[in-house]
C-alpha cells in the first residue's frame, strides 16, 4: 500500500490515549503537525484506571505546569471536577498543592470531545503490535490487523498495557487494565530493537456500591469554594460532593493476615516491583504491625454513578477476602463490591535509555512517555506526554528540544530523575524530590513556564494574555510595596509573623484593586525572597558544570585513564553533560576530571 499523507502516513503517531497520550497528541496536533492517536478502546480515552482524582502533593504542581505550557489536563479537571481542596494549607506556602475529585465519566467524555475537535488529529481504534524501525530510526507501527501506519516520529504511551497481567488472589489473566486487552506483542518488538525492559506492579482498590455504605456515622470532608482553578483559563470551579473518612481496625487486619497465603504478593506469584508509597492494604498491615488503624477515604467516582473508590485499600487478595475485610470497617458493614480490587504487572522501559527530550538514545524518532517509563500517576504521565509531544515536533522541525531544568519545573525534576537515575519502582513525584521547591511553587507555575509555552507555539492566546495580565499586576504590586512608606510593608512581610492578612488589614484600601490571588503571590514572593536568592546562587554555581557537554559520540573505551568500571557505567548511561556524568553512581571525581580534560582538547 502506498503511503498517503493523512491516511496511513503522519508526522506523529501516538500509541495510547491515556493521560500521557492525550497531552502528546494534542501538543503535536496543536503545533500544526498531522498526528494519529492509536488506542485500543476509543471509549476509554483519559480513563482513570485507579483513583478518580487529579492533583495531590507535587502532582498539583505538575498539572499547573502542564497548563502553563498549553496542556489540557488542568482545563479538563476544572470543568469536570466534583470536589476541590488545597492540601498543606497549614504546612507552608511552597508546598501547598491542589487536588480534585473528578467525575471520571465526564472527564473521559470531555477529553474525547477535545481530541475529536482537535485539528490535524486522526483517532484510530486499534492496537500497535510492533515498531517499524529503519536504519535505527522509528518510522511507524504495525497494527494487530497487519496494516502499517507510517510516521516521522512514534510516541509510545502504553501505560500498564505491555504484557499486562491482572491478579485477583491466585487467579490471573492478561489485560491492560480491567476491561481492556493487554498489548502482548509490542514488548518483543522493543526488545528486538535493543531496548531493555523491566517489570513493575501496581494495584487498585475494589469499587463499592454506594447504596450499601452507611455514611451517617462517618467524618465528612467538604470541598473549598475559594479554590484557585488549576487552569489559567478557568475562573471558577464548583464543588458538588463530599468525601468521607473511615478507618480499618484490628478485625480488618485479622482477616487480611489470615488470608495472606492467598495473596499473590506474598506467595511469590507477583514478580514486579510495586510502589512503596502506595502499598496495598496487605502490605501496610504486614509492615506496620503496630499501627492499629489505617485511614480510608471514600470517594465517589461520578455524579452519574453510585460507585465509590475506597482510597487506601488497594489489594490483590481474593474477592472473598476483600469482601470480608471491607465488612469489618465502620460504615461498610453491609457493603457490596461492584468491581474487585486487583494488582497488575506490566513491562516498562528502563528510562535511563532516554535522552532528556524523552527520545530513545538507541532509536531515533522514538519517544516514550508515561507509565512505560516507570512512572505512576496521571499527572506524571501527562507531564511526560506533553514534553514528548512538544519534542517530537521540535525534532521534526529540526529545532532544539525543550528541556526544562530542575530549577524551572517539577517536570524538569521528573524527567531528569528518570533519565539519570532510572527507577526500580513506579516513580511518583514528591515535593522532596525537588531541591528548589521554594522556587517551584504552584502559585508561580504560569510565571515560570508560560513564556516557554508561547515560544514553542503551544500555549493559546487566551491563556497567554491572562498570564501577562497577572504578571503585570504582580509586578505593579511589588513595586508599590517597595515604595509605599519607604518599603515598610515590604520589610514587614519578610517577617514570619506578618501575613498577607495583616497587610490587608493595615493598607487594604491602597491595594484593593489587586486580586487576593495577586496579593498572596506577592506576599509569598517577598517572604521567601531571601531563601530563593540563596537557592538561585546555588543554581548558578551548578550551572557552570551543567553546560559542559560531552561529545555525543564519545567512545569512553578510548579515553585513557578511565577505570573499567567508569567506562562501563559511562557507556551504559551515555551522559550528555558533565553534570549528568557526575550523578552516575560509581563515577569518581577523578573520572570527571578526565572527562573535563578531554573535552578541552
Amino acid at each position: 500500500m502506498d503511503k498517503k499523507y493523512g491516511d496511513n502516513f503522519f508526522d506523529v503517531v501516538v500509541v495510547g490515549s491515556g493521560h500521557a497520550g492525550i497531552e502528546a497528541c494534542l501538543a503535536s496536533s496543536r503545533m500544526g503537525l498531522k498526528t494519529a492517536a492509536v488506542t485500543v478502546n476509543l471509549d476509554n480515552i483519559g480513563q482513570m484506571s485507579c483513583n478518580p482524582a487529579i492533583g495531590g502533593l507535587a502532582k498539583g504542581h505538575l498539572v499547573r505546569e502542564i497548563d502553563a505550557l498549553g496542556g489540557e489536563m488542568g482545563r479538563a479537571i476544572d470543568k469536570t471536577g466534583i470536589q476541590f481542596r488545597t492540601l498543606n494549607t497549614k504546612k507552608g506556602p511552597a508546598v501547598r498543592s491542589s487536588r480534585a475529585q473528578a467525575d471520571m465519566f465526564r472527564y473521559k467524555t470531555y477529553m474525547k470531545n477535545v481530541l475529536e475537535n482537535a485539528q490535524n488529529l486522526t483517532l484510530i481504534q486499534s492496537m500497535a503490535d510492533a515498531l517499524i524501525v529503519e536504519n535505527g530510526k522509528a518510522c511507524g507501527v504495525i497494527l494487530w490487523t497487519g496494516e502499517k501506519l507510517y510516521s516521522n516520529v512514534v510516541i509510545l504511551t502504553t501505560g500498564t498495557f505491555l504484557r499486562g497481567l491482572i491478579h485477583i488472589g491466585l487467579f490471573n489473566y492478561n489485560a491492560g487494565r480491567a476491561g481492556d486487552f493487554a498489548s502482548n506483542n509490542l514488548s518483543l518488538s522493543l526488545l528486538e530493537n535493543g531496548l531493555e525492559l523491566g517489570r513493575l506492579k501496581t494495584g487498585t482498590t475494589p469499587r463499592l456500591d454506594g447504596r450499601t455504605i452507611d455514611f451517617s456515622e462517618l467524618e465528612e470532608q467538604k470541598g473549598e469554594d475559594d479554590f484557585i482553578p488549576f487552569s489559567i483559563s478557568n475562573e471558577k470551579i464548583y464543588n458538588s460532593i463530599s468525601c468521607y473518612i473511615t478507618y480499618t481496625n484490628k478485625n480488618t487486619h485479622g482477616v487480611i493476615l489470615k488470608d495472606l497465603d492467598k495473596s499473590p504478593l506474598y506467595c511469590g506469584v507477583i514478580k514486579g516491583t510495586g510502589p512503596r508509597y502506595c502499598p496495598s492494604i496487605e502490605d501496610k498491615v504486614v509492615r506496620f504491625k503496630d499501627k492499629e488503624r489505617h485511614q480510608i477515604f471514600l470517594e465517589r467516582e461520578s455524579l452519574g454513578s453510585i460507585e465509590y473508590y475506597p482510597n487506601g485499600l488497594s489489594t490483590s487478595l481474593p474477592l472473598n477476602t476483600q469482601l470480608n475485610f471491607l465488612r469489618t470497617i465502620k460504615g461498610l458493614e453491609n457493603v457490596k463490591i461492584m468491581r474487585p480490587g486487583y494488582a497488575i504487572e506490566y513491562d516498562y522501559v528502563l528510562p535511563v535509555q532516554l535522552n532528556r527530550s524523552l527520545e530513545a538514545k538507541k532509536i531515533d524518532n522514538l519517544f516514550l512517555a508515561g507509565q512505560i517509563n516507570g512512572t505512576s500517576g496521571y499527572e506524571e504521565a501527562a507531564a511526560q506526554g506533553i514534553m514528548a509531544g512538544i519534542n517530537a515536533v521540535m525534532k521534526i522541525k529540526d529545532k532544539k528540544p525543550l528541556i526544562l531544568g530542575r530549577d524551572e519545573a517539577y517536570i524538569g525534576v521528573l524527567i531528569d530523575d528518570l533519565i539519570t537515575l532510572g527507577t526500580a519502582e513506579p516513580y511518583r513525584m514528591f515535593t522532596s524530590r525537588a531541591e528548589y521547591r521554594l522556587l517551584l511553587r504552584e502559585d508561580n507555575a504560569d510565571f515560570r513556564l508560560c513564556e516557554y509555552g508561547k515560544n514553542i507555539g503551544l500555549l493559546d492566546e487566551e491563556r497567554y494574555s491572562t498570564y501577562k495580565e497577572r504578571l503585570f499586576r504582580f509586578n505593579e504590586l511589588i513595586a508599590f510595596l517597595k515604595n509605599y512608606e519607604n518599603g515598610k510593608y515590604y520589610l514587614l512581610l519578610k517577617r514570619p509573623d506578618f501575613s498577607t492578612e495583616n497587610l490587608i488589614e493595615e493598607v487594604g484600601n491602597k491595594i484593593d484593586k489587586f486580586t487576593r490571588d495577586t496579593i498572596n503571590r506577592a506576599g509569598l514572593f517577598i517572604k521567601y525572597e531571601g531563601y530563593i536568592s540563596r537557592q538561585k546562587d546555588e543554581i548558578e554555581r551548578l550551572k557552570k558544570f551543567e553546560d559542559v557537554a560531552i561529545d555525543d559520540c564519545a567512545d569512553f573505551n578510548s579515553i585513557p585513564g578511565l577505570s573499567i568500571e567508569a567506562v562501563e557505567k559511562l557507556n551504559k548511561n551515555k551522559p550528555r553533560t558533565i553534570a549528568e556524568a557526575s550523578k552516575i553512581s560509581g563515577i569518581t571525581p577523578a573520572a570527571i576530571g578526565i572527562l573535563l580534560m578531554r573535552r578541552r582538547k
Binding site: 492540601l87 507552608g92 522532596s432 514570619p496 577523578a590
Partner: protein, 474 residues
Amino acid sequence: MSAMSSLSREIDTICAVSSPSGEGAISIIRASGKDCLNILNKIFRPYEKNLSKIKSRYFYAGQIFDFQTASNIDEAACVFIKGPNSYTGEDMFEIYPHGGIFNTKYILEIILKSGARLALNGEFTKRAYLNNKINLLEAEAVLEIIKANSLKTLVIANNELGGLLEKKIKEIKESYIYILASVEALIDFPDEVFENIDSDLLNKAGEAEQALTYLIDSYKNYELNKAGFSVVIAGAPNAGKSNILNRITGKDRAIVSDVPGTTRDYIEENLFLFNKPVKIIDTAGLRETMELLESKGVERSYGQIKNSDAVLYILDINDLNEDKILKETFDMFEDKKDNLIPIVNKTDTVNKKDLDAAEEKVLQLFEFKNKPVFISAKTGSGFETMKKELYDVILRVEGGVKNDVGITTLRQKNLIVKSLELLSSAKDKFIAGRPLEIISLDLREGINALDEIVGEVTSEDVLDVLFKEFCIGK
C-alpha cells in the same frame, strides 16, 4: 580553571622516596600511575630466569639498571601492584634498595628520567581519595597518624582511619535523615495520620545535637592531646613546685624564692619522659587569697588541673596537716583522683626518723590512690621513682583510650559546628511552627555539612527512611 591544571596531573606517574631522609638499612621508593610497569621493566632486572613478565603482588629480587650508563647500580627488591586494587587505585610499584643517601637519590632520578615526576606532598593519598579508594576522612586520618605524637592521638587517628569516626558521623546522619524524613512525610503526605511524629522528631533532634556537641568537644581534647600528655604540678604555695619543674627539665625555667606565691601564672615545658612527649605545667600555688593578681593565678591553676592528664600534687614534708585545699581539689576533680600522684618534697630537711613518721602520716591523712613519692628537689633524691610513677600513670591513661573517637581537623570541626547550628535552627523553627519547607532547607544544609566530611546523600536516602519508618500510602 585552576582545578583543571591540577587534575591534568592526575593521570601521569608520580614517584617519591617514602622512607625518612638520611641513611638507613633499606630505603623505599614508591611510584603510582599508568606508566609504572613500563618504568619498572626499564630499570629493574629481576634475578628470576625466564620471567616473561612481572606479576602483580609478587616480591622480586634483582638489580637496578641504569640505562644512562648501561650498568647495574644496586641490588634491590621490588613489588608491583596492579590497579585498581592498590593504595592509590592506580598501578603502583615499590622498590627497596639499600638505605644509602646517594644510591636512593640516584635511583629516584633514574625513575624520574624514565617518565615519572616527583610526587607532591600527600599526593599518593590524594590520588587514593580521587579514585574513591578512601574518603576525605580517611585521607585526613592518614595525615594525622603520621603526625601523631602520643598513643592517644594515634589511637584517635587510627579509629578515624578504621571508620569509627565515619560510623559515628553516619549515626548522626541517620538521626538527621530521620528528622528530615519526618518533615518530608508531613509535607508530602498531608492526608496521612502520623502518631507521635512531633515528639519523635524532637527526641531525635536532641540526640543528634548531643552527638554533635560531643564531637565538637572531642576536637578540643584532641588538640590538647596533640600538644602531648600534660602533667600539672600543683600544691600549696612554697611547697617547691617550681624547683621540681626546674630539676625535671634541667633548666632554670621558673623563678624560685622562699616567698610563697612567687609563681603567679603557669609555666609550660615540653620534654620526653623516657619515650613519651610530655608537657609539664608549673602552676601558681593553691591557697585562698585576697590579692587580685594571685587569685587570678589560683583560678588558672584549677583550670590547668581540669584539663590535665595527670597531676603531681606537691606537699611540704614539714607541713603535713590535712590540707584543706587538697581536699577541695580532690572534690573538684573526682575523675582525676586516679591520675594524681602525691609528692612529698623537702626530704632533705628532715632526719630518717621524721621521714618514717611523715610517711605514715601522709597515708593516714589522705586517701591517695597512688603511693606517695618522697623527694628532695634540692638534692634530686626520689626523682627517678617519681618519673617511673608518672610513666606508669601515662601508660594507664593511654591504655584506656581504645574506644576514643573524635574529630581531628579544624575542617571537620567547622563543618560539625555548622551542622549543629542548622539543626538547632531547624528545631527552633519546628517548635515555633514555621513553614516546613524552610525547616527542611535547614536540615538539608545541615546534612550537606556532614556529607562534606564523608560522602554523599541523595533524596533517595530520605525517601528510603520515609517509606521504611512511616506507614504511608493511600
